[in-house]
């Protein structure tokens, strides 16, 4: 399974037991005894998710969550909540936390949710990558190629495009070939799909 689960809990037994559990399902873990410790070694671009205890000595889970958002960390966060912490967890969800799990939890369900989060993270990372490559491809287009692409995307034929831009049909065909090449597509439909997904 790609990505690592960052377990942040001040109870050593919990950390250890969760690590044991996740490893039994082939999920990599890294454990931190406090929020401060996690912030100190914040893995910037690692793939994974965060499993965060709400009640902790020192910086609380919610505080850490807020700090991570400030740092634009996009790792999904799953809160571990104790008895009576549900309202706090709900407010965290509204702020963008991925999920919360109430203790005592159904362990494999927890693992499932974590895996789900990891998948989401991976997916988001892939989408981010797509978006980044499309942007670089669009940036490589010349002005005329960009104009031709915009008209192609509106579904116009080469002749109509030539009329609109006041250039020869032939020239339109050349631009179109270059632009398809640069964008890595073969048909107008593919182009439309590529632009739409980004």
């Amino acid at each position: 399974m790609p990505g690592t689960v960052f377990i942040i809990d001040d109870d050593e037994a919990i950390r250890d037991a969760l690590a044991w559990l996740f490893q039994s399902r082939d999920v990599d873990t890294r454990e931190f005894a406090s929020a401060e410790a996690f912030l100190a070694t914040l893995p910037d671009h690692s793939a994974g998710c965060i499993l965060l205890d709400i009640r902790m000595e020192g910086m609380s889970g919610i505080e850490l969550f807020d700090r991570l958002r400030e740092h634009a960390c996009r790792l999904p966060v799953i809160f571990l909540t104790g008895h009576g912490d549900v309202p706090v967890a709900v407010s965290a969800l509204k702020k963008g936390a991925h999920d919360f799990v109430e203790k005592p939890f159904n362990d494999n369900e927890l693992v499932d949710r974590v895996i789900e989060a990891l998948a989401l993270d991976a997916q988001r990372r892939a989408r981010d990558e797509n978006r980044a490559s499309l942007a670089s491809r669009l940036a490589s287009l010349s002005g005329r190629e960009r104009a031709v692409m915009d008209l192609v995307l509106t579904g116009k034929l080469n002749k109509q495009i030539a009329d609109e831009l006041g250039i020869a049909v032939r020239t339109v065909e050349v631009h179109r070939a270059h632009l398809f090449d640069k964008m890595g597509v073969r048909t107008a439909v593919e182009l439309a799909q590529l632009v739409a997904t980004a």
């Binding site: 919990i14 008895h83 005592p104 362990d107």
Partner: protein
């Protein structure tokens, strides 16, 4: 209490006060009239007596003169034929002059009126006044004795001459004349007592000729004039009353009456002023009395006054209502009072005697009383000494309050407070349960995770005995941890009813502290325990003691929110202190502001956002139930120290 005095109104007062003045005026007037009448009568009497006296004096003088005339007649008869006086006549003449001092001298005149003999002898016989000649001629003409007009005698005084014709053989031969000095006539013939009362004067038209008076006559005195029959010739006897003593007495009387009248009127006025003053005072008193009466009647507090012997002298309506007896039934009653409760008689009498001895408790005392209908009620009695107008201690004034309802209310409040305490205790238990649940979650979650991890591996066929046994060891450790928590909690929730028994506070505190440790750790508070070994046992309910410690510890922990983390230490100590076991819970928090110290133990007072305000109230009621004390003081380095002390059980 004084009876309501009903006095006359001020207007009727002024009306009635005018009457005495009028009466006094009338009396003065009547007295004046009476005096005038008496005076008049007196003057009248005086005049009468004056006239009488004057008549008497005139008669007396006339009698003397008549007697002189008779003597002269006898002497005249003894003249001899030669017209010469016989020796016996001379002797008799001498005798007459001696006997009658008023007769200054006797003259013998011849028919021509020439004196030829004088007894006593005279220096010049020739010089004769007209008045004497006149008398001579009158005597000669009439043949009877005749008086002259007043004349100046040889002795230099006024007098008259009395001529007695002498006949010789039926032929006028001359006269025998006696010169009568008027002053001597008055002096020697008017008695002394007459002169004491009256001033006598013989006057003629030209003025006074002779007078007899003890003192010089004054003008204005009552006087009476009477013509002297003898010697006649216009001579008048004037009798004047001396200024009488009665006048002085009368004046004095009038003055005294006037003074008395003025004094009476003055005293009347001053009495009127005084009574007006008194009236005002009385009105003020009535107003005051009415005010007091209204006050007494409106009181719901019973008032009862007793004299020094313990007899009731006064009760107000509220007291009567309270005990159901009327004022008449109560006033002047002595002990035992009808409202005393027979069962409590001994205590009541003791209190009664203490009050009379002046040993009444200043804060009042509670006593059951009995109403007339037999109903009992609790009374709160305050006694105060009753001081009369002279400043003497005259008895005791008591205020009596029926506190039955208050007692019921107190009982109710007590019950409610107990209910509330119970509720609050439940709330605390709930809070504790929450903390316990959270604590249990930790090992249980760990256990579940270890177990699931193992299962996952076994299912996947990844059976590394060494790995699994490591995980299972950890699992069992967590199970043990959970068991420990449960055991500790069990100790506290097992018994619901308070169970007082000798117990050692040390382990109770220890258990509680262990239970609180996670919570403290989450808040960054270090718990320090200093429990002296071999603490004396105390009679206590261990659950409540645990609650007490937990409450105080939680307060301490919460008080250190603002303290830097490194300094957040809660110290719980226990030691033997005298006959007590003392437990101190000290924090390093912000301490307690003076202004909230007082409210600290009142229910629902809280400084916490989510506090119920019951914690310290419960703590205090728990400690009071155990006969101990709970207090707090400022800590050595900021913060606050709560102490509680329980009496140790004697071994």
């Amino acid at each position: 209490m004084p009876a309501t005095g009903s006095g006359a109104s001020p207007s009727s007062y002024s009306k009635t006060s005018a009457l005495p003045i009028l009466a006094i005026g009338l009396i003065v007037l009547l007295l004046g009239v009476l005096l005038a009448v008496i005076n008049e009568r007196e003057i009248d009497d005086e005049r009468q007596s004056l006239i009488k006296s004057a008549l008497w004096a005139e008669q007396y003088l006339a009698l003397q003169l008549t007697s002189t005339e008779e003597r002269l007649q006898q002497l005249a008869l003894q003249f001899g034929a030669d017209g010469r006086p016989s020796p016996s006549l001379l002797a008799q003449a001498h005798q007459l002059i001696t006997a009658r001092p008023e007769i200054e001298r006797l003259l013998m005149l011849d028919a021509e009126g020439q004196p030829f003999r004088a007894i006593p002898p005279m220096a010049a016989m020739t010089h004769r006044g007209a008045e004497a000649s006149d008398a001579f001629r009158l005597a000669r003409a009439r043949g009877t004795s005749a008086y002259s007009a007043p004349l100046l005698t040889e002795g230099g005084v006024h007098g008259v001459e009395l001529h007695q014709p002498v006949f010789h053989d039926g032929k006028f031969a001359g006269t025998l004349a006696a010169v009568i000095a008027l002053p001597a006539l008055l002096n020697d013939n008017v008695p002394w007592w007459f002169a004491e009362r009256y001033h006598l004067e013989i006057v003629d038209a030209s003025g006074p000729l002779a007078a007899k008076s003890r003192i010089p006559a004054e003008n204005g005195g009552l006087s009476h004039s009477i013509a002297l029959e003898r010697p006649g010739r216009g001579l008048m006897l004037v009798v004047t009353v001396y200024h009488s003593q009665t006048d002085l007495a009368g004046n004095f009387l009038v003055a005294a009456i006037l003074v008395l009248a003025i004094a009476a009127i003055w005293s009347l006025f001053s009495m009127r002023r005084h009574s007006a003053h008194r009236l005002r005072a009385e009105q003020a008193l009535r107003a005051e009395h009415a005010f007091r009466k209204a006050m007494e009647d409106s009181l719901t507090v019973g008032m009862r006054a007793r004299d020094l012997a313990g007899r009731i002298t006064y009760v107000n309506p509220a007291f009567c209502r309270m005990v159901g007896y009327s004022t008449e039934e109560l006033v002047s009653r002595g002990p035992p009072m009808p409202y005393w409760v027979p069962e409590e008689l001994e205590r009541t009498v003791a209190l009664h005697e203490a009050v009379l001895a002046g040993n009444a408790p200043a804060e009042g005392f509670e006593l059951p009383f009995r109403r007339k209908d037999g109903e009992r009620f609790e009374a709160l009695v305050y006694e105060a000494p009753l001081i009369d107008a002279d400043g003497r201690h005259a008895g005791w004034m008591a205020s009596v309050v029926d506190i039955t309802e208050r007692k019921i209310a107190e009982e109710l409040a007590h019950q409610q407070s107990e209910k509330l305490q119970h509720t609050a205790r439940l709330a605390v238990m709930g809070e504790m349960a929450s903390a316990i649940a959270h604590e249990l979650n930790q090992p249980l979650s760990a256990i579940a995770s270890y177990a699931t991890g193992c299962l996952n591996r076994v299912e996947a066929g990844d059976v590394d005995a060494k790995k699994l046994s490591g995980a299972l060891t950890k699992l069992s450790k967590q199970a043990h941890r959970a068991g420990q928590i449960i055991r500790r909690v069990y100790g506290f929730v097992r018994k619901a009813e308070p169970d007082m028994r000798a117990c050692d506070l040390g382990p109770i505190i220890q258990d509680m502290v262990e239970l609180m440790r996670p919570e403290a750790a989450r808040r960054g508070v270090r718990l320090a325990m200093r429990i002296a070994p071999r603490l004396p046992l105390v009679e206590a309910d261990s659950i409540q003691m645990g609650q007490l410690v937990a409450n105080l510890a939680r307060n301490g922990i919460e008080a250190m929110v603002g303290t830097p983390k490194t300094q957040r230490v809660l110290t719980i100590s226990a030691k033997a202190d005298g006959g007590e076991v003392r437990v101190c819970v000290a924090d390093n928090g912000t301490g307690i502001a003076d202004e909230i110290t007082e409210q600290l133990f009142t229910p629902f007072f809280t400084t916490k956002e989510d506090g119920m305000g019951m914690g310290l109230k419960i703590c205090r009621s728990i400690i009071e139930q155990h006969g101990g004390r709970l207090w707090h003081e400022a800590g050595n380095n900021g913060g606050c120290v709560f102490h509680f002390a329980l009496p140790a059980v004697r071994p």
